[in-house]
Amino acid sequence: MSTTTVDVAAPTPAPARLAAPGAPAKIVVRDFNFHYGEAKVLHGITLDIPRNQVTALIGPSGCGKSTFLRSINRMNDIIPGARGEGLIEVAGQDVYAPNVDVVTLRRRIGMVFQKSNPFPKSIYENIAYGMRIGGENDKRVLDEVVEKSLKRAALWTEVKDRLNGSALALSGGQQQRLCIARALAVDPEVLLMDEPASALDPIATQKIEELVYELKENYTIVIVTHNMQQAARVSDRTAFFMLGKLVEVDETRTIFMNPKEKLTEDYITGRFG
């Protein structure tokens, strides 16, 4: 991967810009690099992701935003030859430290994917599954978590009368909200969303966006999206990636109204070519 075609200044934002006013950092990233075998796909990423806010990652295809997202809960570990270096801390814990249990880590850092992937089980079991494998078998506790999670994911009223029905019978938007409910069931601190609405129609998309907006009250959310308008609508902060580098990160309103970098401006105004 060549990085010489576009002059992206080394991303060393001043501390003042890193600090998100009023919100302490939940995720701290310092000089993080990532490689797929020989290819270096992330270059010295440094940013703070504030607690209880939505941070959107935007950028053209192949810019590294999804790789970065998946680095946060080590979803990239399963790819042969993939390795990260540098620091990613979630709530003060280095996620790449040798003693980290990846399963526990992913429990704390939930993930929702582009294509909804419910288990071929009942709606109820989809939510309860994570609890069960965590050793919870008390039906009352499970009932409670199922209801709470579905409510948080704004799905409860639509499915409460058919909890034992198959999850696969739900619409695409409902399935995606079910996956969000499933992620919430294990009580994560951080929710990573990889284009959670890109396969959905506008109405379902709007529901997901409203949901994201509400969820930030209790969770720290990082969302990758190809849809810049979506980033503008749902996020508090936006990070613009290009060619594996972080070009600019700032409050979303600043990024969309008056970005500092010309590259950012060109991208969000559709002037790339």
Binding site: Q206, E210, Y213, Q229, A232, R233, T252, R253, F256, M257
Partner: protein, 220 residues
């Protein structure tokens, strides 16, 4: 309620707050003029910066709404209306300041004549601004059109007041400076009514998506 609806509601509240401020400014400017109260006039002049900062705040908010929420249809018309109503309100408040500046100047000399047409003109303008804001809040095109219709009456009063003041000027050249100041004041109130008319045109646009300004009639 959509998160976006809350933003729209907030924008509406800001506009109403600005509108209330502007109504107070008009009211005080009329009082300063009729009661020859320089202190009140000065207060209006000093309060103008509050209106100005509301304009800046609303501008900021509308631009943000467009950037972040990409409003469409009636939402877009609302944001567009807000962007056009705000400067009208700001201008109306500036006119209240102008009235007060002339009033202070007039207070340095004896009263030229008892004011008859100008107070009527002023009350009309004040009423129109208030009703324009009501029409906006209620998104009421019927009320908006009623306000627009009243503009002719205001124009007539302005003309009438000017002709009367002209007689004072012709009679004695020492009256000229005061008569001109009063003529200006008449014009300021007439311009406030024009502002109310412009606001109402935006209300019709907001409610019906129909542009009625510069059309002569509404045959479009």
């Amino acid at each position: 309620m959509r998160h976006f609806d809350k933003e729209i509601e907030h924008l509406k509240e800001l506009l109403l707050r600005m509108g209330a401020l502007v109504e107070d400014q008009i009211n005080d400017s009329i009082r300063a003029l009729l009661e020859r109260d320089t202190a009140v006039a000065q207060r209006v002049i000093d309060s103008d910066s509050a209106v100005d900062s509301m304009e800046l705040e609303i501008d900021q908010h509308t631009i943000e709404l467009i950037a972040m929420m990409q409003p469409a249809a009636v939402d877009l018309r609302f944001v567009a209306a807000a962007m056009k109503i705000t400067p009208e309100l700001e201008r109306i408040a500036d006119l209240a300041v102008d009235v007060c500046e002339r009033a202070i100047e007039l207070n340095r000399e004896p009263q030229l004549k008892p004011l008859i047409d100008i107070p009527r003109l002023a009350r009309n303008a004040q009423d129109m601004v208030r009703q324009a804001l009501d029409a906006f809040v209620r998104r009421d095109p019927v009320l908006a059109r009623e306000v627009i219709a009243r503009d002719d009456e205001v124009d007539l009063l302005t003309e009438q007041s000017f002709r009367e003041l002209l007689t004072y000027m012709l009679e004695d050249s020492r009256n000229i400076s005061r008569a001109i100041r009063l003529t200006f004041i008449g014009k300021y109130f007439e311009r406030m009514a024009d502002g109310a008319t412009n606001i109402c045109e935006m209300v019709v646009y907001l409610a019906e998506g129909k542009v009625i300004k510069h059309q002569g009639n509404e045959s479009s």
